[in-house]
């Protein structure tokens, strides 16, 4: 008994929604009847079958997945924004640590040699100071400073571009 007026009201409200903003009660009525009433539902989905069939013609129906290159480009942006972990820095991390460790060992060695051999008295024996440029192959770029020939120890600083 009540179904036909409800269907009419349902149709009127859905049609009216194209032209004016519905009240909360009217929207709630559409939602309720759309679920409860078979007739309202059928009317609501009048064009569903035709449109669904037509959409098979839409080239965006089957979206081509992005290529691995596309994803890589996208992920570069995500890494830059800090959303994904930076794999590059993870790989490169050991090298700076290794070179820093090598530099520290070298510095300790130099300081230890200075303390042990007393480089501070070098000016007193400045005549003994010898700078030797070894006969190295051309363009080798190696240079050796010799602190002396006594047995107190020798500090050699080798500068090399090799």
């Amino acid at each position: 008994m009540n179904e036909v007026p409800d269907l009419q009201r349902f149709q009127e409200l859905v049609e009216a929604s194209a032209h004016r903003e519905l009240t909360e009660a009217e929207t709630a009525f559409i939602g309720r009847m759309g679920f409860q009433s078979q007739e309202c539902r059928q009317w609501l989905e009048t064009d569903a079958q035709t449109v669904t069939a037509a959409l098979t013609e839409d080239p965006l129906r089957n979206v081509p997945a992005p290529s691995s290159l596309d994803w890589a480009r996208l992920e570069t942006g995500l890494r830059r924004a800090g959303a994904l972990p930076d794999t590059k820095s993870r790989v490169q991390k050991p090298w700076p640590i290794l070179s820093a460790a090598a530099a520290i060992v070298l510095c300790i060695g130099v300081v230890y040699a200075i303390l042990r051999d007393g480089l501070s008295d070098a000016p007193a024996h400045s005549s003994e100071m010898v700078v030797e440029i070894l006969d190295l192959p051309e363009n080798d770029g190696s240079l050796i400073f010799d602190g002396g020939e006594d047995d107190d120890g020798v500090l050699m600083i080798v500068i090399s571009n090799g």
């Binding site: 449109v51 080239p59 965006l60």
Partner: protein
Amino acid sequence: MDVEQDDEDRLLVRCHLSGDANGFEQLYRRHRERIFAVLVRMLRNREDALDATQEVFIKIHRGLDSFDPSGRFLTWAYRIATNHAIDTIRRRKVRKETPIVEEAVGADADLRTGRRANPEAGSQLERGEVATMIARAVDELGEAHRMVFTLHCYEGLSYGEIAAVLGIPVGTVMSRLYHARRKVRDALPPDWDPGGPSRSRGRSQ
């Protein structure tokens, strides 16, 4: 939509929030294709959709701490994607750009295979003509109608799910979908034959 997958999503969100960077990375890998798919259909442009996917995942990453674990992650992600798509469409209107999809349709090509789509359906019109009509009709839908239409007809979301994604009443989803469908239907010739029985895809509950 899968309850088990939803629980795994929530777990990954918790991992991320507890400081595990892999949590977000896994969420991204699970959902990136789905988010891309919904964006390409809303924006009707592949390149825009790729850029938008990146931006949406950055927004998801930044907003994960505001995700309510009592809800579904995918619904929340769809909401971010939809809002982003609406913003992009508005910006595009200002720039008065033409969706690139029309060029592809004009070339009569399926974007994935390079071939014409579904050679059996639609007996009276050339495939390319119908494709052009459909693409143009969807392009011309207003943003509110297009969002509802895309989520239902392409993504298969129910009325209730769309209401949750867009944060609007179910009644509004129903009326918008009705008008969107009618506009697309009206863009087709009256004598167009879909070429067979029901091929309904979208769910209705």
